[in-house]
Amino acid sequence: MTMAQPAPQQAGLYDCREAWAATLETLAAQDPRIVAVVNDSVGSSKLGGFQKAFPERLVNVGIAEQTMVGVGAGLANGGKVPFVSAAACFLTGRALEQVKADVAYSNVNVKLVGQSSGIAYGELGPTHHSIEDLAWLRPLTNLTVIVPSDPWETAEAIRWAAAHEGPVFIRVSRMPVPELDVPNRRFQAGKAEMVRDGGDLAIIASGTTVHLAAEAADRLAREGVRARVLNMATISPLDRDAVLAAAGTGAIVTVEEANVHGGLGSAVAEVTSQNRPVPIEMVGFPGFLPTGSVEWLFEEYGLSPEGIASAARRALARKGA
């Protein structure tokens, strides 16, 4: 597997892998049960520091994802708190049955960390994109699925996962994202976070797209449209109350760096369609993507402030129709 170099960082933008790695090192210093399991992914998981500090607590099984996840489940059986960290595409796709049987169905204390999730690998193409992961993992009973939006939330999610007894999947992005501008933040797994308040429609976003949704709402505000923006970091179990309240606005836009078949948009539609049907516009990816950079693919598929605002205008036009 070939890994592209991370995109150059711009001022005020962060690679969430740095937050993940720093948090894990801090936690490991406090809790000797914490171990890391990788598939030759020390560098791409930013675990060089962890390896240096805790060489005996890093289990590198080599390029063997099925055994990587099984070994994680075994380490949990032996009393460890394993963080299994690998490129999200291989962790979820190659080892899906191990995630299902050994981790979720067995209901063991394994933390799965999908690195460089979504389309972070850009030009390397659909084999390296991880946009199907949410559809694959969302139905798995016992597994909490979290898609953090920025470095702060990544660190909080890792801390929460370490303290939580049970299986967790966390997407970690290496895409440059800003810290979300929300005052007095408090991370709560399973709860949506209000990023912008508004009653004309609701934009429900996750991960790297939340800051884009906030910018879209600011754009819409200049047109006199008051859009609520929710950061839906926990995809499963979904915050049904927040979704039903969002449906109360009469129109919803969902935004995700994922395939729209089975991801956040689908999860929201499952709740609204059976309880409070409203028009929904889903922003995300339709399937395997053509060659292109991350930036180009985001623009091309409407994962941009203007793309999201356009989806909002379409949703508003359908409102009450």
């Binding site: 099925q66 059986n77 191990q98």
Partner: protein
């Protein structure tokens, strides 16, 4: 559990009881995998009544020896072994595969004490056992981890990932037992996707290999119960077994992989299993 000085009479008695109970369960449910139950029965009886250090009253004690049933479909064997060892009441066996039974067609650790990981899809138990052994090695905990796979199961690639990892890490406290009955669901292993020379394969992966008669309790006890000593490698025990062992019309027949008995076959088997 405290092991008797000569566990062989107990192992023999329990193995017979396990076969009779397992066949009763399969007959009652008209579901199950009796051929593979019977090839594994003597291995399990030897482990549970001659080798494993475990306490049914405290099934998740951190220092326990672990046993992983990677061939999870052989529930007739593992459920009767656990019941015989006292992990749950024998009456639970009567619920085998009934609605909401704790005795599913494949074992679930959240339903039953004594199950370490949920198996069923093949090639899962071995990597999990490797992870347990790594945890024990990190902590110098001293417990041993045993995992039983079928032989056909070894066609799954995940096992060879696990075998590499165990050999590389010199997991001396890990023992893999291969139930080498030479039959898989549809046909012989060697005509389907051959495994031989299996011993050489494991040696090449860094394992110490022993081959035994998988129905000879004394031979099994010798190899499974032997102290680790200075062996700095994981141990692979290739147990030569007979699918359907103990019932004349079932022995060495692939059709008994998941075949179930009619009333007459059940009566006949009960006459033979004495």
């Amino acid at each position: 559990m405290t092991l008797p000085n000569d566990p062989l009479p107990l192992i023999r008695e329990k193995a017979l009881w396990m076969r009779r109970q397992a066949f009763r369960m399969v007959h009652e449910a008209q579901l199950g995998h009796p051929g593979g139950d019977f090839s594994a029965t003597d291995i399990l009886a030897t482990l549970y009544f001659g080798v494993l250090r475990h306490d049914p009253e405290d099934p998740r004690a951190p220092g326990r020896d672990r046993f992983i049933m990677s061939k999870g479909h052989a529930t007739g064997a593992i459920y009767t072994a656990l019941a015989a060892a006292g992990f749950f009441p024998e009456e639970w066996l009567d619920t085998y595969m009934k609605p909401r039974s704790l005795l599913n067609g494949h074992p679930n650790r959240n339903y039953l004490p004594g199950i370490e990981t949920n198996t069923g899809p093949l090639g899962h138990g071995f990597p999990v056992a490797v992870g347990i052994a790594i945890a024990g090695q990190m902590d110098k905990a001293g417990f041993r981890t045993f995992v039983l796979t079928g032989d056909g199961e070894l066609q799954e690639g995940s096992n060879w990932e696990a075998a590499m990892t165990a050999g590389h890490r010199r997991l001396s406290h890990l023992t893999l037992v291969v139930d080498r009955n030479r039959l898989q669901q549809g046909a012989g292993t060697e005509e389907t996707n051959g495994l031989d020379p299996l011993d050489d394969k494991f040696r090449a992966f860094g394992w110490h290999v022993e081959q035994v008669d998988g129905h000879d309790h004394a031979a099994l006890l010798d190899v499974l119960g032997a102290p680790i000593g200075d062996r700095a490698k994981p141990l692979c025990v290739i147990a030569d077994t007979v699918k359907g062992k103990g019932v004349s019309f079932m022995e060495n027949k692939a059709s008994w992989h998941h075949g179930v008995p009619n009333a007459q076959q059940f009566e006949q088997a009960m006459k033979e299993l004495v």
